[in-house]
Symmetry: D2
Subunit: 341 residues, 4 copies
Amino acid sequence: MSTLKNVRFGLIGAGRIGKIHGENLSTRLPGVELAAIADVNLTAARDLSHKLHVPAAYSDYQTILSDGAIDAVAVCSSTDTHAQIIIEATAQGKHIFCEKPIDHNLEKIDAALEAVEKAGVKLQIGFNRRFDPNFRKVREMVAEGKIGKPHILRITSRDPAPPPIDYIRVSGGIFLDMTIHDFDMARYLVGSEVREIYVAGGVMVDPQIGEAGDIDTAVITLQFENGAIGVIDNSRQAVYGYDQRVEVFGSDGMVTVLNNTPDTHIYSAVDGVHSSKPLYFFLERYTESFIAEMKEFVKSIRDDSTPPVTGIDGRIPVVIGMAAWKSYQERRPVLISEFTQ
Amino acid sequence: MSTLKNVRFGLIGAGRIGKIHGENLSTRLPGVELAAIADVNLTAARDLSHKLHVPAAYSDYQTILSDGAIDAVAVCSSTDTHAQIIIEATAQGKHIFCEKPIDHNLEKIDAALEAVEKAGVKLQIGFNRRFDPNFRKVREMVAEGKIGKPHILRITSRDPAPPPIDYIRVSGGIFLDMTIHDFDMARYLVGSEVREIYVAGGVMVDPQIGEAGDIDTAVITLQFENGAIGVIDNSRQAVYGYDQRVEVFGSDGMVTVLNNTPDTHIYSAVDGVHSSKPLYFFLERYTESFIAEMKEFVKSIRDDSTPPVTGIDGRIPVVIGMAAWKSYQERRPVLISEFTQ
Amino acid sequence: MSTLKNVRFGLIGAGRIGKIHGENLSTRLPGVELAAIADVNLTAARDLSHKLHVPAAYSDYQTILSDGAIDAVAVCSSTDTHAQIIIEATAQGKHIFCEKPIDHNLEKIDAALEAVEKAGVKLQIGFNRRFDPNFRKVREMVAEGKIGKPHILRITSRDPAPPPIDYIRVSGGIFLDMTIHDFDMARYLVGSEVREIYVAGGVMVDPQIGEAGDIDTAVITLQFENGAIGVIDNSRQAVYGYDQRVEVFGSDGMVTVLNNTPDTHIYSAVDGVHSSKPLYFFLERYTESFIAEMKEFVKSIRDDSTPPVTGIDGRIPVVIGMAAWKSYQERRPVLISEFTQ
Amino acid sequence: MSTLKNVRFGLIGAGRIGKIHGENLSTRLPGVELAAIADVNLTAARDLSHKLHVPAAYSDYQTILSDGAIDAVAVCSSTDTHAQIIIEATAQGKHIFCEKPIDHNLEKIDAALEAVEKAGVKLQIGFNRRFDPNFRKVREMVAEGKIGKPHILRITSRDPAPPPIDYIRVSGGIFLDMTIHDFDMARYLVGSEVREIYVAGGVMVDPQIGEAGDIDTAVITLQFENGAIGVIDNSRQAVYGYDQRVEVFGSDGMVTVLNNTPDTHIYSAVDGVHSSKPLYFFLERYTESFIAEMKEFVKSIRDDSTPPVTGIDGRIPVVIGMAAWKSYQERRPVLISEFTQ
């Protein structure tokens, strides 16, 4: 593909995450054009297209897929539609950026990945945190050997507030909805696959979450193929804001990243020293990473190279999430291989 | 002006700062349209207009001023042209965003401000740092009385590397080129006017700067009308990067802001604990403030309200800069009133 | 006991930890007198007594126990002698400060605690970290309800370098030698007992540690009676120094304590920003806590009050340590109650 | 002097600072013996000697000076008595540790220094902050060339609360009472003498301080012989506690030291992130430096070497303080040489 021609995108899904990608595709990415938006809620599609000066808005995504002038789609619809849209998009030769998770069902995931493979199109999964400057720095330092051999990984990942209970019910549970990002981060940072998982968790934030069959607090131990051990701690509610810290400790040192804040102010007064809370939630915290992941997806299309987060990278965290549930329910460490036979 | 209609801008000057404003006007500001670019170097104007998909590029700014479809201009040409362009722009009823300083000559500044006054157009001066989240937070806390009555202001403002000697020669000297931002910041943060100034300075970074008649290092004491005392320390070269810190100490507390960094990583190793340097220079450090100042300028046009940084706000730091030179040369504290009789 | 009369101590054991307590007892504690020192190595006892101007030095501790003018003993001999010395000391009515662990054998511990109970003397166990200003602050804030209900506890506890292999062999293993402090800290900070433990661990630092039957790296999950979940991560070798951090997260907030450093310097240079490593090891890091714990022990003698770390507080971490080993060996979560039937 | 024999001290003055040195001499310094205490208030001398188990207490210091078994004196009496006591002590061959300032009068200082010179005894002045780990680290890094050639020095030195007005009246003014420490620190850190001083100051904390002829807030510019420029900012009242920070910026980097805190806790809650205030005042902040300075004084006696802070080091800050007053009163920069002709 000529580097002179714009890459033309269609956006499928105009909800919260769709709006982010829509805005980035239409104003933040040089050489990219957002040509059409589809949403089952046509009003949502139209409102967003109006706001972003996008010429076309549809209620059915097929119109986008069948538009020969469109090169790629960003799939931001509900999770249960991802696999089907991927399969149909491959049939039209579209490159696909798909939000996480691909699906909650491994068979559907595998069918989608197979279709991508056959069609030879690009598929990138929206694990945006890999593109965050903090986590990228950690990965770089680990990869450069700055900390030696990794021994212990610590991920703290806590949301500022739980989603609505209605969302919880269809979310696939904390491990597939929230921790899935941390499972991806764990693989990315350590550079090794998870071999075994153990979960201690509970309902501490809101009993309704428990009634919906989910938990809201978890401490998860990961054992990696390379011998390293990881621990993730999750909470659906950190009252001080979005807590996103990571630390990798190894034979030659340690690298830690702290939270980002809206400003660096320090206020010293009679009653103590005070500073800013972390940026509130993912929209504020990961603004730049959403742009960066899409930039790299476009680059992989232009360069005809492998996208930085592949379909397999989208599949593995789902498997780990399933193993997490099994560990929690059976109160024992679970081998990932129990799911891959 | 209807809020439905885009505000149409012409950009005058396609150099370093012109590129920043051009990019922001064309992609970052909703309801704004960059309609034309002028630069004495036509190639520069054309290159930028091509890159930003701007329809018109000229070598003379008059074509922009006489275009009735253009509402406002962003003046990013060389300092010696600012006053003249302002005067001509007012004659065409354009609103004006003008980079700092307005001019190095008070009479020319006064003539420009008088023209703006008579024409009743908006004029905003490019003291972008007021729109930085850190400094804005400090101002808010001071204004809210969180630190009580301000007693001591400290500004550290150091560039990562000096500009080329050719630039130094026409810069108006360190106080009008570099410290002028700090003089504005001082007034803004303390909320009072400077009454007296004393400068201790020298050539420590590069003897060529001295040969060009300038200095590269200064410690500047400010005494404010409200009794507070301020100190600014400047260097043309901080080898660790752009150092932009501020502290206001008062009867009830203190607020400090530190540097911003590209990431929050901390690397602990045998030879110590290491972290990131400050963001390298103003392009990286003040990205958001350049967008925010223009957003507020557009808002003042739409709302027909006073811009947040007025012509007078542009004039006063020039006077303080002149007093700074006098203090340095005469080795004594100088009253600002010596320049305002 | 009159507050006017000095409390007279005998020190049993003049090794590394004995020297610390000896020095503190002889110079840092008002109203305290170090009257005699015993060590199986008489030269060690004599050297220390000479250095500290202590009048008596013996090779057998019985001489101290039978000295009617001595009120209390500090037991700093090897672990396998603790229980026996405690029992003999109670027979002479001495108050006892005993280093951790009491013993590796629960029956011996129980015999010692029973003797203490019967004699009605004071027994305090040397979990000095409770007296560290950082950890004490965390405990206070948790106890005051500042973080609400505790949900997640994180303890990072890493030594700068492993002890000699000969020591490893007789240490009782990492959980009874090193993690035992963290087990105590966990109970102390959360204010609840551990119900279940799961260990993921390995030999990553030195294969000789593995050959000695021990491990050197561990991530330990604790589930508390009150529902909170804790995680301890241990390493025998953090190349950047002694890493001793704690965090408690709860329904209303979080409290974290960082490492202490020898100074607060920050060095900014071309190659980054650099600061001091943590204080090297426990002698530097916990200097003040060793004094504070002894001060409180003396206070409990004078006031005839319960010491702040009782015999039961000494026993419980040993049980948790045993459960830790079982979990590691059997690769499953282990209930503490498996050891207390 | 044999290293085997204790150095026997007499303490002159049992007030606030006398108590600190008394306690350190009697318990914190190996090879040192506090043999006698004198205070014009005999009760004070007796109370302290009782508390510290010191055998002798007098109301007249001459008894100490004439005691042939005493090697050295620590002069902690009121400032106006220092010079006279120094002279009398030299007559008895005593080594002298003297609190700052030596005197407010240069002739009296010179007479004292001449007597010391003639007698060949050791004289060390109590600029304890040189022995603080933070400031010592800065000095070391500057001396090692880590920051290259020093360009800018910044000292923030603010007390938590002003002393009683009665004390202010006899203090010699803020520059001789409080800033004198910072003048010493400036010379020590930069490694060059002050050439010129300019003061901007005022009464902002308490009008009574102004009525007593003093000021309570100052920003002081120092120009050094080596070309560096320094700035000290002082306040008699920082409501958040004792603020003692230093920064040296140079051609190759910068070194900064921050305040020390009682603990490292960070509390994150709904209303922000909170941490500890600086240690309250000099007793808490400089505990270790008082011990370290005396240790080095004793070492200089034992080694017959030059003490680390000499009589000249005691004289120069007094001269700078006088120049500071002149600058403030005459509202102009003042050359130190105006006082040394």
